[in-house]
């Protein structure tokens, strides 16, 4: 909870700057790149976030990376600030929250689609269109496959869950039988 509050506070601050200068999308892309880099270089993020090392040393390590990056100055300064404040460890949460802010600002919503079998492109387009109609927002999808669903699919948009899986239908049928609804 505390982590999410910190992440939202920092993300909102950066997004506010991005809104002012109109480069919020670029800042978001920079953050995503930095997070991707950190996920591939675990040692880097461990060193930068480790408070055993002096802040100056950690900032030097960060500078080496930033020099080789094409990040905007705002994002670079933002990352330096996170190291100064020992909040660099929350970079994943900050990036996620920043993405939500940009999506909201751009009238975009994200839908997690879990399907039992690969979706055909036509079916995915139809589904996007249907979800856009449902949410009145531009829908960006993230499709994953889960064989345990047996058949059908599940869509999650924020707190909204649309479950059309065979597994859930079987569970519902089983519960109905247990309650004796078919006696």
């Amino acid at each position: 909870m505390i982590g999410s509050k910190i992440s939202s506070r920092y993300a909102k601050a950066l997004f506010s700057l991005g809104q002012d200068d109109g480069h919020y999308e670029e800042y978001g892309e920079n953050l995503n790149e930095f997070v991707s880099f950190c996920s591939t270089k675990n040692e880097f993020i461990r060193v930068v976030s480790n408070q055993i090392f002096p802040v100056e040393d950690r900032k030097k390590v960060l500078e080496v990376v930033l020099e080789k990056s094409s990040f905007s100055n705002i994002v670079k300064n933002f990352l330096r600030l996170l190291v100064d404040k020992n909040r660099i460890v929350a970079i994943d949460g900050i990036t996620d929250y920043y993405s939500r802010l940009t999506d909201e600002f751009s009238n975009i919503t994200r839908a997690d689609i879990i399907t039992a079998k690969p979706l055909k492109s036509k079916a995915l387009d139809n589904l996007k269109r249907a979800l856009t109609g449902l949410t009145s927002k531009d829908v960006r999808t993230d499709v994953k496959q889960d064989d345990t669903l047996i058949g059908g699919l599940i869509v999650k948009i924020g707190d909204l869950v649309l479950d059309g899986s065979v597994k859930t239908q079987l569970e519902g049928l089983k519960e109905s039988l247990k309650r004796g609804e078919y006696n």
Binding site: K117, A130, L153, L170, L173, K174, L177
Partner: protein, 203 residues
């Protein structure tokens, strides 16, 4: 007046009487012996008679004096009174004993009566207690039977429910295995299309 009371007095009286009797007997013997050596028979006989008479008179006097002194009458009357008193006392004791016997007999009868009453009371209480225990036992047995009946019904229902659950689980697992085996890509497409139609209906 001399009174011979007690054992010592009686002893003195008897001893006096024996001495006087011996004295008279000796006198009479001596007198009869002296008569054999006499002169004339008539005077001797008269003398002998006089002596005998004198002896007798002395004897009577002595006896009278002795009896007078010894208060034999008083002795015997006292003895009679004593015996009479003793008899009266014994009679009283006998009456008292008889009275006590009757009292004890009455007490015994009362005790017997009381005993019978107590026995009857205890018997009555015992019968009442027995009936109470039997009634309680019957009531308890009835409750136990009712409880057992309820328990049996509950257990049967629980067993039915468990069996139904197991059947449902088995049926669901079986259905899942069949669907997993039989489902095709066309079924998946149909499921997706139906899902899209349902989402569109939500607009």
């Amino acid at each position: 007046m001399i009174q011979f009371k007690g054992k010592k007095g009686k002893f003195v009286l008897i001893a006096g009487l024996i001495l006087i009797s011996l004295f008279i007997f000796c006198g009479l013997s001596f007198a009869s012996e002296g008569g054999g050596h006499g002169g004339t028979d008539g005077s001797q006989r008269l003398w002998d008679l006089g002596a005998r008479f004198l002896n007798f008179a002395i004897l009577v006097i002595i006896l009278f004096v002795v009896i007078k002194k010894a208060d034999v009458k008083g002795f015997f009357s006292g003895r009679r009174a004593e015996i009479s008193q003793k008899f009266e006392d014994l009679k009283k004791e006998r009456d008292a004993a008889e009275s006590r016997f009757r009292e004890l007999e009455d007490e015994l009868k009362a005790f017997e009566t009381k005993k019978k009453e107590i026995i009857q009371q205890f018997e009555a209480e015992g019968v009442a207690e027995k009936e109470k225990i039997i009634a309680e036992a019957e009531e308890r047995a009835k409750q136990i039977l009712e409880q057992a009946g309820l328990t049996i019904k509950r257990e049967i229902q629980a067993a039915k429910d468990r069996l139904a659950m197991e059947m449902v689980e088995a049926a669901a697992q079986r259905a899942q295995r069949i669907i997993e085996k039989e489902i095709k890509d066309s079924d998946q497409d149909q499921l997706v299309n139906e899902f899209i139609e349902r989402v569109e209906k939500l607009h």
